[in-house]
């Protein structure tokens, strides 16, 4: 009996101690990990969509509450040039064929147009759906006005990736979501970064 007690005590002591240390470490590294993930996962796509800028959009990022939808928030990455807002981007998701497709959508600060899109995460079929991340598809969005962001088959002006209509729709859904969010947050963003 004593032996069993000792086993239980020692085991739970060790587990408890390591749990406490790890929880502390997790907390201590949380911000840095978030930044690293943003730099290496979202970073390349961000650079792809932004106009020329001289700040680090990742360290300057800011979370915004979505008006009219309590509890929902979105992170905006600003691109500043000489201290003035040149453009901004956000990450949104759309349902593709294999799961959510993450898309960074960049907006021009001056006029109502996109600066470009970049795909961050996806689980689409290699060789077909993954083409939504490729040049031919994403370049259609650079400089595109905010209207008619829809596949040509649905009356818009975007060519789908051939053989991957689900994935194309997923990417476009994400873009549309970003446009809707931008409409709600436009003024607030303009106030935050002049």
């Amino acid at each position: 009996m004593r032996e069993i007690m000792k086993m239980v005590v020692v085991l739970s002591l060790i587990s408890g101690l390591s749990g406490a240390v790890l929880a502390w470490l997790k907390d201590a590294t949380k911000n840095r990990i978030e930044e690293q993930v943003l730099t290496y996962v979202q970073g390349p796509a961000l650079e792809q969509v932004f106009p020329p800028h001289d700040n680090n959009p990742i360290t300057d990022r800011k979370r915004f509450e979505v008006p009219g939808a309590p509890g929902e928030s979105v992170t905006i990455f600003p691109a500043l040039k000489d201290g003035k807002l040149a453009g901004y981007a956000m990450e949104t998701y759309g349902q593709g064929y294999g799961g959510d497709i993450g898309v960074i959508v960049g907006f021009d600060a001056g006029k109502d147009a996109l600066t470009g899109i970049g795909v961050t995460t996806m689980k689409e079929t290699p060789g077909l759906g993954t083409n939504v991340a490729k040049h031919g598809f994403t370049t259609q969005f650079a400089g595109h006005p905010l209207e008619k962001l829809e596949l040509k088959s649905k009356g818009g002006s975007i060519d789908a990736v051939s053989g991957a209509s689900y994935s194309s729709t997923g990417a476009i859904t994400a873009v549309q979501k970003a446009v809707a969010l931008r409409d709600k947050l436009k003024d607030e963003i303009g106030k935050t970064w002049q």
Binding site: S18, G99, K123, P126
Partner: protein, 192 residues
């Protein structure tokens, strides 16, 4: 249906857990002396891998993620696998003595077989649902068993052949594994 078929073929042949993903080498070299041992080890691995993947999937989904403890994944998974192996061992001893006799001695070895923890983690990283997790882990474990059996068959032959003294044992086993891996490499072109 095609999706599952592709998943199975790719897990067994194209991304063979042993020959393409390098998981589970210790038993691969250690337990491939003869076909009987290899078959026992392989069967035990299939059994444990499927159970472990199912359990860890449920724990990740219903315990770790809701309490945002997913950074403890490694600890929790390895403990679950260790406990599961113990439990399976006790259960088999009581419920199915013949099965225990043939698989029992391999069970304790499996806790540290990195293929078990590896497959469980791969399923999480790929975000598979429960059905896909079970199918994928079963197929991967079958791939492991296949590689183990093939290796044992080859090794039974070359135990009798004249090898340079310094090539005997692990070095020859590794070179053989390399050649097998080269053969399996040919499947890569099959599914792009």
């Amino acid at each position: 249906m095609t999706e599952y078929f592709l998943l199975i073929i790719s897990a067994i042949f194209v991304n063979n857990i042993l020959l393409a993903q390098y998981l589970g080498n210790c038993p691969f070299l250690g337990c491939s002396r003869n076909i009987g041992t290899a078959a026992g080890m392989g069967a035990a691995v299939v059994f444990v891998v499927v159970m472990a993947s199912g359990f860890t999937w449920a724990i990740q989904r219903y315990v770790l993620v809701p309490f945002s403890l997913d950074y403890l994944q490694t600890i929790v998974f390895i403990l679950v696998i260790a406990a599961l192996v113990q439990f399976v061992e006790m259960f088999l001893k009581k419920a199915a003595p013949p099965l225990y006799k043939s698989l029992g001695i391999f069970l304790p070895l499996i806790t540290t077989n990195c293929a078990v923890l590896g497959i469980a983690i791969i399923c999480q990283r790929k975000d598979y649902g429960i059905v896909k997790t079970l199918v994928f882990s079963f197929a991967s474990a079958l791939g492991f068993m296949l590689a183990l059996l093939l290796m044992a068959a080859i090794r039974e032959r070359f135990e009798l052949s004249r090898l340079p003294q310094s090539m005997k044992g692990a070095p020859a086993g590794l070179v053989m594994a390399g050649l097998m891996s080269l053969a399996f490499f040919a499947f890569k072109g099959m599914i792009s």
